[in-house]
Symmetry: C2
Subunit: 682 residues, 2 copies
């Protein structure tokens, strides 16, 4: 129904779309890539720097190991991409890591993955925003001077946007992501051209600094450990790769194939950018240190606490494009924007995972309803608070936050890939067709290698990063795991308790008659309506009940009752202490005691008002009484609402709330595509 007042609006912004229309649009690959890749691609903004940072501990000479570390990251990236291409084909309904682990390895593995992913989402927000602020800060010094404040402001902004349910579109993701990718490629190409063809010397702003090695001439086991730590840091480039495996239903047909192609494209872009930036960093002699204040020396003197260490990508951009040049500014802005978009993906993923977990009763059931605003809001606020806390504790320092980051990712990689191996084993046990079998065996081999490699990396990450902060992430996982297990246990216990016994006639206390009691305070429209409704229900007995808190009022009530000739007997309970709840409860109990086989129906007239502050002014004793009555066995409690005029406002608000559109719809695909997945659940 469109009202007349809608006409100008419709002329201005076109026909009203159904609120979920956007989610119904399937994504072509060119849009799917930026929608899903902002997280993994944006990590090249911080991963190369982290590698150099760790290597610097052994002095600048250790920098020459960085190409080897890049190679290791590239191999790992190809392994992970190849593995997830198998996932995408095997679970076209969009089976994320949680579902793969849950289905193939059992609920404990599933819950572990879920805990890891939840921690991961929190860290995605914290790391991406911290890094985004640092990149922005390389162009706008104010931002980096008020790092924590700005980071928290961005978190608040994203939170508000997601709470309000700002509509998404593919181009929202596409423009910054493509600008970022194009910027990085132009930088690499122009850098290569200047260096190789023009033979110019490009120098990063830190090229002239020396690094004071914390451990000069590291060798043997210590060196290997350091290289492994550097590799662990480089693995930050892999975060977010798994996102596509959740989003297959959002792709155009053939869904799995398109998703797999997009995954490959994403991997290729990511490693090219990663390697390119490392190469440029080596060429332009970027110097990074873990503690720049002490370990970076300028003319042999420590550079001091005032120094701000800019990200590698911005140092390289400065060397290639020139400080303050147009392209430098554009790249810094695009980098920050893509990082904020990456943080935003967590805002979509966290509540979505929550709703899947709620479906499996690991989280409160009400989170289960798709796109439910309240459930969504709880998830968003929880995510934002946790991320905000981390940003605040770690001073929005992306380097310190990254120490926590990679554990969760590799826990879910490893378990998901192990689950895939099981998946193929199970299918191979029944599959007869030779061609399909050989295909499956190939997939199994890829997933097995993936599981082995990511498992190895997980061990490396744990060993090299545990004391640097990975324990915080593990602690977070344990907390999530314990909470969700407890919730599941509670639901299971309740389900046992309320399970219906077999046979139709076992319930020995099935009531035989019902006494109805209408609560009356005064005679007005709401009570008259409640009386009329109560009469309709034809219970075995019906009486009106009032509590005498004020003798004068009670006398007036009795008189009016008689004068109006209301044909329901009025009973008045005494209450010397002006209480309402206790006398009613005691009366109901006495009724039950007299005839334990009967049920008591308590009918309460209620006003319905439109604003929360009006609500505070009404029905409070009714509400409390209802609360207490619910604990009394053999009772049913009926509210007969009387809608006051102001209640219209609330009705309209509720309608609006229902028309709200949950963010993240673009990534999730159309509802009917997801419905399939749900219904095919075991």
């Amino acid at each position: 129904m469109s009202k007349l007042t809608d006409v100008p609006k419709r002329i201005l912004i076109g026909r009203a779309l159904r609120s979920d229309r956007l989610g119904e649009t399937l994504l072509p690959k060119r849009i799917a890539l930026p929608v899903f890749a902002s997280d993994p691609l944006s990590s090249v903004a911080y991963a190369p720097g982290e590698v150099l940072l760790v290597l610097s501990i052994a002095g600048v000479s250790a920098y020459h190991f960085s190409p080897w570390i890049a190679v290791a990251v590239v191999v790992l990236m190809f392994t992970v991409v190849a593995s997830y291409r198998q996932n995408v084909h095997a679970y076209p309904s969009g089976g994320g890591d949680y579902e793969v682990a849950n289905t193939n390895l059992g609920p404990k593995a599933g819950l572990t993955v879920a805990s890891a992913l939840l921690v991961d989402y929190v860290l995605t927000v914290a790391v991406s925003i911290a890094s985004g602020i640092e990149n922005l800060g390389s162009a706008v010094p104010f931002v980096v001077e008020h790092k924590v404040l700005c980071a928290l402001a961005v978190i608040v902004l994203l939170t508000l946007m997601n709470l309000r349910g700002v509509k998404e579109s593919g181009s929202l993701f596409a423009i910054p992501t493509y600008v970022f990718v194009a910027g990085v490629f132009i930088m690499i190409a122009w850098g290569a051209f200047r260096g190789l063809v023009l033979d110019e010397t490009m120098r990063a702003p830190t090229a002239g600094y020396e690094i004071k090695a914390e451990h000069q001439g590291l060798a043997g086991f210590a060196l290997v450990f350091l290289l492994l730590r550097a590799f662990s840091s480089g693995c930050a480039a892999l975060t977010g790769v798994e996102a596509i495996s959740n989003g297959v239903p959002a792709f155009r047909k053939p869904k799995s194939k398109n998703a797999a192609t997009t995954l490959a494209a994403m991997g290729l872009l990511a490693v090219t950018m990663f390697c390119g930036i490392i190469a440029l960093a080596m060429t332009t002699k970027v110097r990074m240190a873990e503690n720049p204040a002490e370990d970076l020396l300028k003319d042999g003197v420590a550079i001091g606490a005032d120094y701000v260490q800019n990200p590698v990508i911005s140092q390289v951009a400065e060397a290639v494009f020139g400080k303050g040049s147009f392209l430098f500014i554009v790249l810094a802005a695009a980098t920050a924007l893509v990082l904020f978009l990456a943080a935003n993906t967590a805002y979509n993923g966290f509540p979505l995972l929550g709703s899947i977990l709620a479906q499996d009763r690991y989280l409160p059931r009400q989170l289960h309803t798709r796109g439910d605003r309240l459930a969504f809001s709880n998830g968003i606020v929880l995510l934002a608070s946790a991320a905000g806390l981390l940003v605040w504790i770690y001073g929005a320092d992306s380097t310190r936050l990254i120490q926590l980051y990679i554990v969760g990712v590799f826990v879910s990689f490893t378990l998901s890939q192990t689950g895939m191996v099981r998946h193929w084993n199970r299918h191979l046990a029944t599959e007869k067709d030779a061609a399909t079998r050989s295909h499956m065996i190939r997939s199994r081999a890829i997933n097995a290698f993936g599981a082995f490699f990511t498992g190895l990396v997980l061990v490396v990450v744990l060993v090299t990063k545990f004391t640097h902060g990975a324990w915080v992430a593990l602690l977070g996982m344990v907390i999530f795991y314990a909470t969700m297990s407890a919730i599941r246990k509670h639901y299971d216990r309740v389900a046992d308790e309320i399970a219906a016994p077999e046979g139709p006639s076992d319930d020995s206390v099935r009531p035989s008659r019902v006494h109805s009691v209408v609560l009356i305070s005064k005679i007005h429209r709401p009570t008259l309506r409640a009386l009329a409704y109560a009469k309709l229900l034809r219970s075995d007995t019906l009486e009106a009940l009032s509590v005498n808190v004020d003798p004068v009022e009670t006398k007036a009530l009795r008189e009016e009752w008689e004068r109006r000739g209301i044909d329901v007997p009025l009973k008045v309970l005494d209450s010397p202490y002006r209480e309402i709840t206790r006398p009613v409860i005691e009366y109901v109990k006495s009724l039950r005691k007299e005839s334990p086989r009967d049920a008591v129906s308590v009918i309460i007239p209620e006003y319905v008002v439109g604003h929360w502050y009006e609500h505070l002014l009404h029905n409070q004793s009714a509400l409390r009484l209802k609360g207490r009555l619910l604990f009394t066995p053999g009772v049913m409690v009926t509210s007969v609402p009387y809608q006051l005029q102001s209640s219209e406002a609330a009705k309209n608000r509720a309608r609006k709330r229902q028309e709200w559109n949950a963010p993240g719809a673009v990534r999730r695909g159309p509802a009917h595509e997801r419905a399939k997945e749900t219904s095919s659940q075991p």
Copy 2:
């Protein structure tokens, strides 16, 4: 019913008292005095100092005006006491200022008095605690060094005690109050003995300081203004005098006479102590300044910001008893304790006044129930927050807080006395008996003089203190007044809207039939119970309703339904977006559309759990659905609770909560005495 486990407890602490037993005990005068007088008597701890403080502005020579100001305060005190003795006789049911003004001057005057009293209670807490901390600080320097912190700690402590409902007893009030009174009298007597008989020279610690007058040689209008300001400050001694007029029902018989006698004793004690302390302060040459840091000179040099100006009462005690002597310490402790007791009286008065205002629909109705814990808690928390805020803003400086204090007191004095004049006028119009008439005329004269004098003081206070802080108190009053008017207006509007029309048959939409709908998610005990109860109600039609959010589950439900042979038709609504609320609401609306004259009864099975965190895990969609259904006309909503085992815990908690005892019972008198008052309301 006493359980076996109660036996050891009963042996240890005697027979269980009825929770309200204490309030049933009537107070003899010797206990009533300390119970009601802690507030007015304690004000002699700060009032004399305030007078000297203001006078110091004109230099130490102005101190010789202080006896005259004391005389003015004494005259005022006698006037107010005489006036309230009339109140006590006229309103033996305990008509406080609010009721006197409301009954005789109309609701606007009543509401003004109520607003003034509410502000006053807040300030009683703030001023008394700030002053208590300063008195304690004169013996324990740590306290005064962390003034704000200690004051807030005391507020928190009092709040917790009152929230928990610590039981009161007369001796709780009697011991500190009598120790304080005795201490002050011993000090006065010993001081007089040393000075007059032994002819010793007692010197206050500040006797050697000079005061730098801000306005030397003040004369004419400026001097009068200063004296009036000093007098206003001295009027702080009158706060709390009206308390007895609220508490007449707590007295032994003859109630009014005993209350009047106690009032007179209190007035006499207060003025004696006030004058005695002023006299001792003059004798021992106490020197107080508004800005001691700048205006107090020691050997001609400003004394500096580190100086802590101790209250007059402690300086005098030091001079008379000697610093650190036993009696000095006892008096300091008793002074602080009495001041904290005075603050505690506000904790009793504020929620009590709230409940009276709620009865007149100026505050949410639920505050009306006597001794209701929730209502009580809201009042306490509001009072404590407001007082805490003031203490924090004003740095727990009693001198600055007192500037705000006296406005409210005199607003209620003036209006109450004016109301009493009207009261006598009304009674004189009908009274024939000559003796009674002359008695009434005498009372009217006293009240008329009281109204005139307190009104004059109110003007003086407003004029002399407005810019010093009285505007804050006025602003507070305006806020209370506006809020309470708005609430009353809302209730009146609703009452109009729901007023039952005359005549039994006017309601044109009285429903003729009722359709019952039982909501089903799964088949378990709660739903089976709900079905059984629904059948008992014999509505015209009955069906079970389920929402298909998951085809597999729905199919299983249909199968089990048939297998169990449940003889209620099952209807399943489709919900592609996994929503529950919307399809149900739409279905109910469609039922109503088909037959608008019928009512729809929606029956919802609910689990009842014991802990709030369990509650979060259940019934959320049922709750939301109920919320929406209440806005749908022609619907009644029935909850059929199923008590899970864990619900026992909540039941016990609720029972305990109901056995809670509201503090302030001692002052309020027995319930049945108050009930009379309530029922005699117009």
